[in-house]
């Protein structure tokens, strides 16, 4: 318990240092663009593949569930509700935590053990500003876009399965989706994406920044970054759904 509270306190100090660095100077532009590009490009292929197959499965499972009730026409509603409101934001955040979050943690951890962070400080360059703020802005720019891309891929693949495999009417499917999903759902998805982006970046950078020495330390930091990010995002997803839709 003491160790947990100490970690929490340490995280609080880290967050306040990042906040101070963020308001002191704007993030370095070139590095922000690099980070946004890297996070987006790195995560996109895996994200598309997973989104497509989650969409297909939602359609199949929706069809199975509603077929027994004689309501196959509800598949579009089911896919839209589950996919747009819940699956896409949490799935994208988990993917990005696994791809980009682990990279953030491991890169910063290696810089820590190779004294590159000390070197930044001695060169009078605030490491929070140099290392964390461009990653934060980069992921904030990219994660909402990735979430929307995931929504599109999921709906498209579900539509494909509904029409070509399940033999449902494509226009009806689209009409159900449109009826169920409103602009506010997409907007709430973007809000969730922003929150998850902040969590993934802060948690991953924190574990990298405070990494113990040695290869084992880097491994532990990377592992902790993805586990803690994913768990916190899952819990927040529930709380945000309650807040936004409850």
């Amino acid at each position: 318990m003491t160790a947990f509270l100490a970690k929490l306190g340490s995280f609080g100090l880290f967050v306040s240092s990042v906040a101070r660095a963020s308001v002191t100077n704007p993030p370095p532009v070139t590095r922000t663009i690099e980070e946004a590009y890297r996070i987006g490009v790195q995560s996109l292929p895996i994200l598309l593949i997973v989104s497509v197959f989650v969409g297909t499965n939602l359609a199949v499972q929706g069809s199975n569930a509603f077929a027994q009730l004689g309501g196959q026409s509800m598949v579009g509603t089911f896919v839209a509700l589950a996919g747009v409101r819940e699956m896409a934001p949490i799935m994208v955040s988990s993917m990005v935590a696994a791809k980009a979050g682990t990279e953030m943690a491991s890169q910063i951890a290696v810089m820590r053990i190779q004294e590159q962070i000390d070197a930044l400080e001695v060169m009078a360059i605030d490491p929070y500003w140099f290392l964390v703020t461009p990653r934060m802005l980069g992921i904030l720019l990219v994660l909402p876009a990735l979430t929307m891309i995931s929504v599109a891929a999921m709906l498209l693949s579900a539509w494909g399965v509904a029409v070509w495999q399940l033999g449902l009417n494509g226009s009806d499917f689209i009409a159900q989706c449109a009826q169920t999903t409103h602009g506010s759902d997409l907007f709430f998805g973007v809000i969730k994406a922003f929150v998850f982006a902040v969590i993934i970046c802060l948690v991953s950078c924190f574990y990298g920044y405070t990494s113990p020495k040695g290869a084992k330390g880097v491994g532990e930091a990377t592992n902790a970054a993805v586990v803690v990010s994913a768990v916190v995002c899952a819990v927040l997803n529930y709380l945000l759904s309650e807040l936004l839709y409850g």
Binding site: E115, D118, A119, E121, V122, D126
Partner: protein
Amino acid sequence: MNVPDPIIRLVDVYKAFGSLVVLDGVTMPIARGKTTTLLGASGSGKSVLLKHIVGLLEPDAGEVWVGDVDMAKANARQKLAVRKRFGMLFQHGALFDNLTAGDNVAFPLVYHSNKSAAERREVAMEKLRLVELEDFYDTPTSSLSGGQRKRVGLARAIVMEPEVVLFDEPNSGLDPVTSATIDELIRRMQQQLGITFIIITHDIVQAVAVSDWIGMLHKGKLLEYATTEGFVASRHRVVREFMDRYIDVPPLHDDELLDP
């Protein structure tokens, strides 16, 4: 100890990590424009002391004066201002892996000068020339040898033309020939640039070769601190044991030695 015109003054500095006391009341003035070396065995607290000077660590008690700023009490802004007066060569170079040798050297200029990319390249090239690596500007740091990494690190340390350059174990991990090259480079650069060099090392040969002042840290205390001539004549038992193995000094009888 009477050190003329000190640029840095550590006054009664204490530092402990948990129950381990690392610095136990160290008082040490450091002369401006000279080379001062702090010797000590591994774990004697040398690196910790160096990190206090640049404000990477704060003492539990005591003062660390750099000019008129006490780094022990300085806020973040004051520390940044002081650090702009420093350059530091890290033990393993601490070069950024994603940059070339030249871009590593030019790195501080990107953030602390208004120079154009061409001007930064010119300045970095000039510093690389000083360490005889001008042909390696575009070489990735991963392709450099240990000695070359140290020299690039040294070029980066002096690129902002600092008042003080700190060296953390500049010869560790290097073969004797490369070590001698680094020693010669330090000596030559100190003469050319006239800036304050502070070196921490366990290499007594290097200390004697390059220093104006030498101190010895032992179990967190500054056991001996004198000019190089005075240090070589030290009667402290621990200092003699440290020296006798590596450099040729006249032996002393047991009853002439001072214990800590």
